[in-house]
């Protein structure tokens, strides 16, 4: 299927200029699901099958429908609030499409865990529709110690009135990793997004968030933290697109990265496109190094350099990632092994 390679987005496209998917895929096979995706449900929830997602006409959308076949589709009924999360895990190669719909007042946590195989190509298109007053917690992690392959995950999230969406993403990158989240705010909604990428070797990770405000009164917080070392590359692209009716939008976007090596790279593009006049939108972006004087202060108190570095980095990442203990533990493990 090598001709598919020619359809892949490449660095000549603005939205992919720092994440050259075509350049990296090479001869990797592009294939279907082949039973490699498991959807795990930890307790019985009366999900019904849902409709197929609308077709998407861009290259990644076409590839996932051509090779992924029918989407896996679930509906969480009105008002249902299962206590256990929906787990999507053990996916390591192929194309898959998923659709999850939360009816009004429903509440669900989804934990997506992705991996890749060496030289593999994983492509996930996931659609969430969150109806009035429903709340979705989405937690995305990519495997820490994997043979790095190519992973592309794109979520399309539609939020209706009074919906809440909380997203936490943690990645250690891969040969190529892109986690893209596209949100449409169709009513007054609340969104909290946090993410962190920790990269070493020649790994690559891209967090791209696009938020489209179509109605008044939404609140969005989006914070991404990055730590890059060796010759790795981190990419952050964030955009708030505030349409004319979306008055009283209150939206903030932050990206902060620390570079631990001269050879590492960070590319960041926070963007605002605003057509409404009564809004509060802000973005901030910093790329820096660990504070040498703080490190000296810690060493003067007896904390060895490596441990001092790990403490500052952990604080930096965890402050932005929120208080998910399992994730904090993963972050700690990664930092300790590299401090």
């Amino acid at each position: 299927m090598t001709h598919m390679r020619d359809r892949l987005p490449h660095k000549g496209l603005e939205a992919w200029k720092w994440s050259d998917l075509r350049g990296v895929v090479g001869e990797a096979p592009i294939e279907g699901l082949e039973d490699r995706m498991k959807l795990r449900l930890w307790n019985y929830i009366d999900f019904s099958d849902g409709p197929q997602p609308a077709p998407r006409d861009d290259a990644m959308g076409q590839i996932s429908s051509a090779f992924g076949g029918d989407a896996i589709s679930y509906v969480v009924p009105e008002g249902a609030q299962p206590e256990s999360p929906l787990e999507l895990s053990q996916f390591s190669a192929g194309n898959v499409r998923i659709r999850v719909e939360l009816k009004a007042g429903a509440r669900l946590q989804v934990r997506e865990g992705y991996g890749t195989t060496d030289g593999g190509f994983s492509n996930v298109e996931i659609t969430y529709v969150v109806h009035d007053g429903a709340e979705l917690d989405r937690i995305v992690t990519t495997a820490k110690d994997i043979d790095p392959g190519v992973l592309h995950v794109r979520a399309h999230v539609t939020l209706w009135n009074d919906a809440k969406f909380n997203q936490t993403q943690l990645t250690f990158g891969g040969k190529f990793t892109r986690l893209e989240t596209r949100i449409a705010c169709m009513g007054a909604v609340e969104v909290e997004m946090s993410g962190a990428y920790l990269l070493d070797g020649k790994r690559h990770a891209d967090m791209t968030n696009y938020i489209d405000f179509a109605a008044p009164g939404s609140t969005v917080r989006d914070a991404v933290a990055g730590v890059v070392t060796d010759a790795s590359r981190g990419v952050f692209q964030g955009k708030f697109h505030v349409r004319r009716p979306a008055q009283e939008t209150d939206a903030e976007m932050r990206h902060d990265a620390l570079m631990l090596s001269d050879r590492a790279k960070v590319n960041a593009k926070p963007e605002l496109e605003i057509y409404a006049d009564d809004v509060e939108c802000a973005h901030g972006n910093t790329v820096g190094q660990l504070d040498e004087s703080a490190l000296f202060y810690m060493r003067q108190r007896g904390i060895p350099l490596g441990q001092a570095r790990a403490m500052l980095l952990e604080a930096f990442v965890v402050a932005r990632l929120g208080d998910d203990e399992a994730m904090a533990e993963q972050v700690r493990g990664w930092l300790e092994a590299r401090a």
Partner: protein, 247 residues
């Protein structure tokens, strides 16, 4: 205890000499004060003693109980008992004060081959010292020095010092920015630490701290060297006469 001989230190790859043949001895059990004009090299001395990057020692020696300090990493010097109360304490974002201090204490203990302090023992000591220093429990849970006022930071330096019980203490202008009440609290803390096997070097601009902590000797540091020494009364004379005679 601390012996500094002919210490010469430069910055900017030797372009600028800041310490210029400085010699000083602080015997165990004594408190010495260093006074001197702005830019004399007082903070530089404190950094060279503690091993901060950016300074090249081009001549001289520094020993603590006969061990060569200049050969050690900053954390090794700390484990040997060298403590610096910073003129400008650093902010450590995201690391709660007590977490920081317990990590530091246990890192020092580990380096000395000692057992870590138990959590209850640590908390007991922290609580009682915080009370003595009038530090609120709430402050100990906040990230170290983040958003603290100048005075709070200085008090926190003393708190760390008393928790860590160092053997040799350097205090760099701990008194500046403190009101009289805070000054007294700090002085009480330092006086409590005076002991036959501990040495203390107080760098200060003002004689007033030395009313509370009476030093065994007072030295004038000017242009990177000790230019004169005397007893506690010498500090009073310096304050009225200034340092012009020692330039």
């Amino acid at each position: 205890m601390l012996k500094i001989q002919n210490l010469t230190a430069t910055v900017d790859d030797g372009a600028k000499t800041i310490l210029n043949g400085l010699s000083l001895s602080v015997p165990a059990g004594e408190v010495h004060a260093i006074m001197g004009p702005n830019g004399a090299g007082k903070s530089t001395l404190s950094y060279v003693l503690t091993g901060r990057d950016g300074y090249d020692v081009t001549d001289g020696t520094v020993t603590l109980d006969g061990d060569d300090l200049l050969d050690m990493e900053p954390e090794e010097r700390a484990a040997k008992g060298v403590f610096l109360s910073f003129q400008y304490p650093l902010e450590i974002p995201g690391v709660p004060t007590l977490t920081f201090l317990r990590t530091a204490m246990n890192a020092q203990r580990k380096a000395r081959g000692e057992e870590p302090i138990s959590a209850p023992d640590f908390m007991k000591r922290a609580k009682s010292l915080a009370k003595d220093l009038k530090i609120k429990a709430e402050m100990l849970r906040r990230p170290l020095n983040v958003g603290f006022s100048g005075g709070e930071k200085k008090r926190m330096e003393i708190f760390q010092m008393m928790m860590l019980e160092p053997r040799f203490i350097v205090m760099d202008e701990t008194d500046s920015g403190l009101d009289v009440d805070a000054l007294r609290i700090v002085a009480d803390g330092v006086n409590a630490l005076r002991s036959p096997d501990r040495g203390i070097l107080i760098i200060t601009h003002y004689q007033r701290l030395l009313d509370y902590i009476v030093p065994d000797a007072v030295h004038v540091l000017s242009s990177g060297a000790i230019k004169a020494s005397g007893d506690a009364d010498f500090a009073k004379r310096l304050e009225t006469e200034g340092y012009d005679a020692y330039a």
